[in-house]
Subunit: 118 residues, 2 copies
């Protein structure tokens, strides 16, 4: 009412992916959507970047925080962009750097896909 601001809601973001993979066959649309995420993780460098960001203090990291993964910084940036486009990371520019974090619900959503259903 009046000018009172709504309390911030707990983010109930859209599940980016799929039902348990052993529950029923995925529909073509679910498979298309989910394959994009797995394809992005199907590269050793991108997987290392993903785990560096996911495990970094505060749950976020910029290119400046990435320790050596054997490729140049522009290549790191390219891979981070791919992970973002696949919906796995979100990014936010703060000053000089872009900070990346694992997109909300991604971990839980993929874990759920592989949790054995009843």
């Amino acid at each position: 009412m009046s000018n009172a601001k709504a309390l911030p809601l707990i983010e109930t973001d859209v599940t980016p992916c799929c039902p348990p993979l052993d529950e029923r066959p995925l529909t073509p649309e679910e498979a298309e959507r989910t394959a994009v995420m797995f394809k992005a993780l199907g590269d050793p460098v991108r997987l290392r970047l993903f785990s560096q960001i996911a495990s970094h203090a505060g749950g976020e990291a910029c290119v400046c925080d990435i320790s050596d993964v054997g490729v140049s910084q522009p290549t790191v940036s390219h891979h981070l962009k791919k992970l973002r486009e696949a919906g796995l990371l979100t990014s936010e520019r703060r000053g000089t750097w872009v900070y990346y974090r694992v997109a909300p619900s991604v971990m839980a959503s993929i874990a759920r896909s592989f949790s054995v259903s009843g």
Copy 2:
């Protein structure tokens, strides 16, 4: 002792993949091994085949059980081979058909990778 057969042990098969992705950065070796699995799942047709097999009665299926995924049967067989080579499926020939099932611990192992660590 004597001729008594050892009791069958509960299969403690080797974990095919990695620690929780948000626990610490993956090593290059872990990333190589895990990326192979994600790469195999990073294709919509393979992902549909994987979920058809995982959700099939008895947890196994042969090419004869696979319902239409929009590709020819030789292509289905090719994709199943890729999933097997990635360690995601096991196969067993019985008579005319090769039966596929999800490799033991694969579901749990991938679920664990994405379960948020403490």
